[in-house]
Amino acid sequence: MTALLSVKDLTISFPVGRVNLFTGHRRAIHAVQDVSFDIASGETLALVGESGCGKTTAGRAIAGLYKAPKGAISFRGQDILDLPRASRRTVRRAIQMIFQDPFSSLDPRMTVSEILSDPLKVNGIGNAQEIRERVQDLIGQVGLPADTLNRHPHEFSGGQRQRIAIARALAPEPQIVVADEPLSALDVSVQSQVLNLLGALKRQRGLSYLFISHDLAAVHHIADRVAVMYLGRLVEIAGRDALFAAPRHPYTQGLLAAVPRIGHRRRRRSLIEGDLPGPLAIPSGCGFHPRCPLAKDICRRERPELKSHAGDRAHLAACHFAGEAL
């Protein structure tokens, strides 16, 4: 499969604190550092990790919500960070986003019909009649009745709002949808409905997803491949089954062991001790070494490269001891 979206050495920094009087520089937090991955057409890549690991920042950068990140993001081989203004919009149409909280991502003063027609008008798709038809079609595709269109977001439950947000993302006919924790604000019984809807839309439209989540059970359900982030860097990336069956990075192993599962009573579940370090105090060498049960001297000195270790060429891990059992 050729890559639809290709991310190479993506680095996103935010300046913090004051300008240093002597150097004229400000300190920076590297929220995302040297992250590279591909997404094929029709593929779902999940980006997982704990809060603060940079997964949302990476997703937002891909959706074009930050100015000038470092590195390269290319769509169908064309670098989209370096486009002239005029052609930016046509490429941007192809990458849309669904946000975590459907209570804050929909404008409360707009009707659903306005919410869904806005992205069409902005992109100059269709005349008034065509837009009306398109909007009616969209609302049906996400499983809501047509009379939804004249109502306002506050009249809907969380699950219905998330369906509206999905319809809005689909309006300009994107090829990639960045879904940032689309389930975490929803009740358990509604989560499965939204997961099923995302699955169905993918099959019908051949969509690709960048599915950002901390919920590993949902990721296992929806993803084809999984990338694990820790302190702004990718630490492991592999096909779903390989990653869940034989995780190579100790962080991934600890993350999977911590996932609660039905029928596993009173087992040992915390393999990872301590907390995530602050973003201004990133440890030397391998960022995970202070919490890692396998850490040796080399881990404190040298940062391990993300590379394949044995057999599976598509399974990459950034650990000096990748493959050793925890």
Partner: protein, 298 residues
């Protein structure tokens, strides 16, 4: 909002309470602490270690809360006072309930922080909540709740705001403390997997009523109520991946006073005219397994 809920928890045991938002899980817990907001009123009995707490004077509640029954909340940042160092917050509990002097209370607070696994507790006691991570804050809230060795600990979604590796640490901590202190725990969560791992017994609530009760093992291996079955089937399982997840159609109904029949009937695929007309009672269908469903009878 909550209607006819009965349960018991033995010392040293954990009762899991599950259900969707709005099913009455948290309101039931607040009733145990005398904190149900007005104009709602509470009827029924609450008995802790043989003492009946129902109908006691409002002025008596502060002696119960924090001492006999304590609570851990979902969001540790809002449960803690941002303007007070954590050692003093724990010390205050001991000062009020155990009449310790402030100096002694602060010393005990450091011991309590050590008990919940906070490294260098003497220094951490001087920290303010914003200087601690989410996991550390939740440890402080747990230390505060357990400072007076309560008979009952109510934990309302205690790990929902935490990352999964921190959640695992907090669950292990709660189990260790329960083994050491022996309190009864009422563990409220919408996360069935967490409840299946930590609870001995589970009640499932729907629209303010208990619809099923069983041991955790029995409930998750042989759920009898269609709502419980639905909740379990909607969860994606790493151990058993399904292409399509089950769904429970509709939403929890808003109930007015004159609702007839089973409250789940509107969303239930087994519902018939009997369900819409008659309220099912919670009855024992198997030893230690109760269910409120007309269709689940043997």
């Amino acid at each position: 909002m909550v209607d006819g809920v009965s349960y018991t928890i033995a010392r040293g045991r954990t009762l899991g309470v599950v259900g969707e938002s709005g099913c009455g899980k948290s309101m039931t817990a607040l009733a145990l602490l005398g904190l149900v907001p007005k104009p709602a009123h509470v009827t029924g009995r609450i008995v802790v270690s043989g003492q009946n707490l129902s109908g006691i004077a409002a002025g008596k509640w502060p002696e119960i809360r924090g001492k006999r029954i304590a609570m851990v909340f979902q969001e540790p940042m809002t449960a803690l006072n941002p303007g007070m160092c954590v050692g003093d917050q724990i010390g205050e509990v001991l000062h009020l309930h155990e009449s310790l002097g402030w100096k002694e209370a602060r010393e005990r607070a450091v011991e309590e922080l050590r008990l919940v696994g906070i490294p260098s507790p003497a220094e951490r006691a001087k920290s303010y909540p914003h200087q601690l991570s989410g996991g550390m804050r939740q440890r402080v809230v747990i230390a505060m709740a357990l400072a007076c060795r309560p008979d009952v600990l109510i934990a309302d979604e205690p790990t929902t705001a935490l990352d999964v590796t921190i959640q695992a640490q907090i669950l292990e901590l709660m189990q260790r403390l329960q083994d050491e202190i022996g309190m009864a725990v009422q563990f409220i969560s919408h996360n069935l997997a967490v409840v299946s791992e930590i609870a001995d017994e589970v009640i499932v609530m729907y629209a303010g009523q208990v619809v099923e009760r069983a041991s955790a093992e029995e409930l998750f291996s042989k759920p009898l109520h269609p709502y419980t079955q639905g909740l379990i089937a909607t969860m994606p399982m790493i151990d058993n991946r399904q292409e399509q997840l089950a769904v429970i159609p509709g939403v929890v109904p808003h109930l007015d006073g004159n609702h007839k029949g089973c409250r789940f009937a509107g969303r239930c695929h087994k519902a018939d005219s009997e369900c819409r007309a008659l309220v099912p009672a919670l009855i024992t269908v198997e030893p230690a397994h109760e269910v409120a469903c007309h269709k689940a009878r043997p």
